[in-house]
Each structure stands twice: as C-alpha cells, then as structure tokens.
Symmetry: C2
Subunit: 237 residues, 2 copies
DNA sequence: GAAATAGTGTCTTTGAGACAATATATG
DNA sequence: CATATATTGTCTCAAAGACACTATTTC
C-alpha cells in the first residue's frame, strides 16, 4: 500500500519526514506484596513473543490522552473515571523501532483491583506481573526504560500527592492505604504514625462512618478519598 | 514535492498517518527581579507576527533531545554543557497546528547570563521577556500552556533539586543563589536561614575560598555548584 | 562612625519517628 | 482469657522559621 503526502511552503518534508506516533502505558496496580504492571505478549514482529507494555498508534484526529485512555480501558476493562492516568514522558530515539521512526508518548496509569487481563487483537497474551519480574524480563523496544520511568514516577508521587488512593477500592481501611505505600516503596511504615499523618493531612481521606470486619482483631474504620490532591508536608519515604 | 512511504503488515498507514514532530523550548533565565523566557516573533504563517517559544522540527535520524539541544544553542548561543535541559511534556492536540498534525515534545532549559537574543532564519526577532509579560501576551499555538508547564516545573524543581545553581554563573554568592529562589518563587526568603539551609545540604554548594566585593557592605564568600542533584529535605517554598 | 550587606546564635514551633498503652474484635 | 489488629498517647529528635546579634566592608 502506498501513501502519498504532498507538502509545500514552510512545511518541507525534508524537515519533517513522517513519524509514527504511539502511546505506551505503564499500568500499575498494587496486589500485596507486589506492585504489578500489565504486560502483553507481542503477537507480531518486531519482538514477536516478547513481553511489552500495552500501547497503540495514535489516530489521525485523536488526542494523545484519548489514545492512552482507549488503551487503558481496552486492556484493563476499567472505566477511565476510576483510574488515574497521566502523561509520563516521550521516547523517540531513532533506533527504538527497527523498521521506522516511531515516537512513543508514554503514560502512567494507576488502577485498583483490575479484573484478570485478557489478550487483545494484537497480543498473544496479557498478564499482570510483579514489577520485579518484569524488570528481570527482556522487554520489547525500550520498554524497560519506560517501565523504570513509570515506577519511579509512581514512587515519587506517593510522597507528595494523594494518589495512593487510586490504588485502593472506593472504600478502604487505613491499613489498606498503608499497605499501598509499603508495597510501592518496599519498606515497612509505622502504623500509628501513618494513621496520624494521613488523618492530619486535610482532605486526604474522609471517614465513611462504616467499619470493615477483620479476620482477626478490632474492626477498622473505612475511608474514601478526599478532595485534596497534594500532601503538604509530604509523606516521607 | 511528493513523498512516497510504503507500509505493510502491522504497520498499516491507516493506523499511523504521518505526524510531524517538533520540539518547543521553554528557556528560562533569572534576571532579577524577573524570571525571563526567550520568545521569538514568528516570521511566517501560521501565527506570523505572534510571539512563540523557539523550536523546530525533529530530523529523520535526530534524537529528540538533540533537536532540543540544537535549538537551545542556536537561539541562545550557550554551550550545552553549561545549561540544564530536560524534557518537559508532549503536546499533541489534533487542533494545535491549523495545517497538519504536529506533535511537539516540549523541553525546559535553565541558563545563566545569556547573551542578548538574536533573530534567526525563521524568526523576525528573538527577545528575553519577563514571564509575567509573556503570560499577558497571546502566544502562538498552545505555547501559553507549554510556558505554564515549564514555569511550574522550574518552580517545583527548585524545591527538591539543586538546579537553582544552573541559573547562576559558575561562581556565585549566597545572596545570588537566594535571589534565584526569590525571583522564581516571587517571595522573600530569610537570608540567615537560607544560608544555613544551603550549607547544611551536603553537596549543594562548595566554597571557592574566594570572596566577591559588594557595592556596599561585607564581601561575600563565593561558591560553585556541588555534586548533589537532590535536596533532602527539600527547601520549602 | 553610619550604613549596608554577610554571616552566626538562639529560641520557638512543627512535624517525624520510636514505642508504650489502650480499644475492640475473634476463637 | 489469649491473641490479633486498630487506634491513641507520649516522648524525643530534627528541622524550619523568627529574629537578635556579630562581622566586615564602603563612604
């Protein structure tokens, strides 16, 4: 198939050869004791059989964030308004795709309790994998770099934003919220101090008035995400 | 001029029509009492006569950061190794360029004591303008959004990185470094506390052993940037 | 010496962290 | 009641902020 594109005036094609633009997503979820990322097994070349981040081409009239959002809902089955989605960084090394110039705008998504992953049209399989496993795998393209950027962004943002709640169900206990931090950061936090810090951060969480029964021990009060988006002072790692 | 591009297999052109990829730069410098940004006056359509951020097309085999670096040295006359340059965000709304689909990867640069701006090939003029003035101007494309993102990134990064030194000459006084913060943040800082905080942050600055004569008052010791890149704990705004 | 700017000392307040103590559930 | 988990209390320490004070220069 042949595509003819005519340029003139200031827009000389020598100045801007056709680029393909894609989005790739680092979709994270917390499944204690692991931070997990959604990977797909590529069905076609290049890197057929390799694990990769889910992604896709940006349509001619499609906004970048819409393309990312479509991939997110398609791959996870999660509605956009329950997930956090933000632009991460753009990867455009000339050599990153062996066949042609592809610039990829990476997005970071944080989701809670996703349904099991299902293979799509272009993927042989889709699977939630612990980030530690994904790091040990040879990912397609430069997706190892993208994954690192996404994980580091998520780790950093837990410090100074309320985004940890996007890894939680709509209603959660203080221990569940704390476990999000412990899982993403890979460290143990002091439960009493964490409890006080969260309640002392105005707008971080709101009490529901309900309690959640524990397998053992005193029932925990439940909370929902509050209106605040930033934590000042931050929650130290 | 006609460009023929052949696609097949997974790379169906219907999935990825030709995009142009550009870089746009938010190049900031501190000239007390103003934080200033380099703007160019567009010589050609669209937005001929409007002020815009400097930028350019990414070459077929050119890395994104190389394209940004080339624009930086071209427009400011500053060597890359003396400036800070980082990727900011990518802007790709289908409507952002009236003629065709252009995805712009924005970069943020911080420079010290730039020479006067000079018009280039594609610009009628180039000028350092206070950010407050630039905000009051109607900028070309979506450059108002890009500028906001750049300024906010710079303001935030002064808190938890040592990047304020990239706004300073190689050798600077504590008052000069403090003035960088005061100019970017638009607030006054307490000189004694600032002094202690900076010296207490290991690797932020290193003494040169020299002093700088003041117009009035006691000469100030001078410092150079140290090896540290992050400030923990941060310098509160 | 007066004025200006650089730099030090000290006190108060805030918040993080360690950890004891109390509360409320299950078996 | 023993045990487990949630929640509150208390003490200590580090750092931020206010601001008095000292140091060193020019005029």
């Amino acid at each position: 198939m042949i595509v003819n594109v005519t340029f003139n005036g200031e827009y000389n094609p020598a100045d801007f050869p056709p680029f393909a633009v894609t989005t790739d997503l680092v979709i994270l979820t917390v499944r204690p004791p692991s931070l997990e990322v959604l990977l797909v097994e590529r069905a076609e070349e290049p890197f057929a059989g390799s694990w990769a981040l889910p992604g896709g081409f940006v349509g001619p009239e499609q906004d970048l964030s819409d393309a990312a959002g479509a991939t997110l809902t398609d791959k996870t089955g999660i509605e956009l308004d329950t997930a956090h989605l933000e632009q991460l960084a753009t990867f455009g090394s000339p050599a990153r795709d062996p066949r042609m110039r592809v610039v990829s705008v990476a997005y970071l998504a944080m989701v809670a309790n996703p349904p099991p992953a299902a293979a799509g049209r272009d993927a042989a399989a889709a699977e939630w994998q612990p980030v530690s496993s994904a790091r040990a795998t040879t990912l397609a393209f430069d997706h190892a770099d993208v994954l690192e950027a996404g994980v580091e962004r998520a780790r950093a943002k837990l410090e100074y934003t309320t985004l940890a709640t996007s890894f939680c169900a709509p209603e959660f206990t203080m221990a569940e919220l704390r476990t999000v931090y412990e899982t993403v950061w890979g460290i143990a936090l002091d439960p009493p101090n964490f409890h006080r810090k969260v309640l002392g951060s105005a707008g971080f969480v709101e009490p529901t008035g309900r309690t959640a029964t524990q397998a053992k021990g005193r029932p925990a009060k439940t909370y929902r995400a509050g209106p605040a988006t930033t934590l000042t002072p931050p929650l130290a790692r």
